[in-house]
């Protein structure tokens, strides 16, 4: 998903911290937690370790600020 999204746009999301700069992933191996995307039901996914599969629908921002409590 990280590759698929960055093939379409320059960045992925905005940092929750600091000045909230645009982010585009960092470690690309599922460790740094810097490429979160969300399923429409709010489930959080790491873009870099999620295969792009048929029917997968994602959003680039959490609907509410529940990103702290989602699994």
């Amino acid at each position: 998903m990280l590759t698929a999204l960055l093939a379409q746009r320059a960045t992925l999301r905005h940092a929750e911290f600091g000045a909230g700069e645009a982010r585009a992933g960092f470690c690309a191996m599922g460790a740094c937690q810097d490429c979160w995307i969300w399923r429409e039901d709010g489930t959080r996914l790491r873009a870099c370790t999620t295969p792009a599969t048929d029917g997968l629908r994602v959003t680039l921002a959490a609907k509410d600020r529940t990103w702290l409590t989602n699994s």
Binding site: A10, A15, A19, M29, G30, T43, S71
Partner: protein
């Protein structure tokens, strides 16, 4: 032993060999793998439909990679192999794992930790701009996604991976702004006696430098990174550094790959209450292990039994002949 609950965490070369050894001894370990197919990050495989061309992807390590993949396939049919599974906590003799949002607690009698390593990173002003990636991440995106992290990439940091990955980008035809090595030439000369004890490592290093020179990639040594230039929305736009003579320099680039050797993924060993020592050579805190690989424990309460494992699978973070090959580092990512 055969009826004990044994868990191996990590299915890179070290974890797979550990599981293979246990199976050969009549045990039936559980193998916990965070990725989708065994091989670890070093021998990560591209997802279908990208082709798996072992020679192109793994170069001089192609035969080893193919053997590791075959072993992963074999073991998956023999033992409780759990891909896509993250070990996220350890307490007492329970390992807590999650797979696709489903949590589970796995009790164990003995645990082998083969969690590998990740890039050792030091912050640089501007590293928060989009387009700055870890060196290992830059390599994974090339190997498994056939993508470069930018159109003009600066490789910043130090260690053999800096040269290896820059050479892999060059071979793939990616645009490279340069290699920016923070270690001075004098440090490389000082390391020569130890490197001579590992002639294959030395030869690989010489080969990489030659490949970079042929590709016209500028290599800057003894630099001090000053600033990654960038824009909050557009990301990385350039790199500023002091050269070996202390002069301020600047180059335009749209991506930075950053890494200073590797560091062990030691969180599980820490949770298992293993004792740690600071390694004076690397400046890293490493689990204290005896020659058999068994970890020493720091707690007086009954701790988990943990072993750490290493396979010689990558140019080691620091070439050092005084270390044993077995369990020398966890540099298996």
């Amino acid at each position: 032993m055969a009826d004990e609950q044994l868990i191996v965490v990590g299915a890179g070369p070290a974890g797979l060999r550990a599981a293979q050894t246990l199976v050969a001894a009549g045990c039936s370990p559980t193998l916990v793998d965070e990725s989708r197919a065994g091989g670890g990050r070093i021998y990560a495989r591209p997802p279908a439909p990208l082709p798996l061309d072992a020679r192109a992807l793994y170069g001089t390590e192609a035969a080893r990679a193919t053997a590791v993949h075959a072993l992963a396939h074999l073991l998956a049919g023999q033992i409780d192999y759990r891909p896509d599974t993250t070990a996220w906590n350890l307490a007492g003799r329970n390992l807590y794992v999650v797979r696709n949002g489903q949590h589970e607690t796995l009790p164990f009698d003995a645990l082998i930790i083969a969690a590998g390593a990740t890039d050792r990173l030091l912050p640089i002003a501007g590293w928060q701009y989009a387009g700055c990636y870890s060196l290992g991440g830059a390599q994974l995106l090339l190997k498994t996604q056939a993508c470069a992290i930018g159109r003009r990439v600066a490789f910043v940091g130090t260690g053999p991976l800096l040269y290896l990955i820059a050479a892999q980008y060059a071979a793939a035809g990616a645009g490279i702004a340069g290699v920016f090595d923070t270690s001075p030439w004098a440090a490389r000369v000082r390391a020569l006696p130890e490197l001579l004890a590992r002639p294959s490592t030395l030869l690989k290093g010489i080969g990489l430098e030659r490949a970079l020179r042929r590709a016209g990639v500028p290599v800057h040594r003894g630099i001090v990174p000053q600033q990654i230039d960038g824009d909050a929305e557009r990301g990385v736009t350039g790199l500023r550094w002091l050269d070996a003579d202390g002069r301020a320099q600047h180059i335009e680039c749209d991506a930075v790959a950053l890494g200073f050797h590797l560091r062990p993924e030691a969180q599980l060993a820490d949770l298992a209450r293993c004792a740690f020592d600071r390694d004076p050579l690397t400046g890293l805190w490493m689990p204290r292990i005896d020659p058999t690989g068994a970890a020493a424990c720091r707690a007086s309460t009954s701790p988990a039994t943990a072993r750490s494992c290493s396979a010689r699978s990558r140019p080691s973070a620091v070439a050092s002949s005084r270390r044993s090959r077995h369990c020398a580092t966890w540099a298996t990512t």
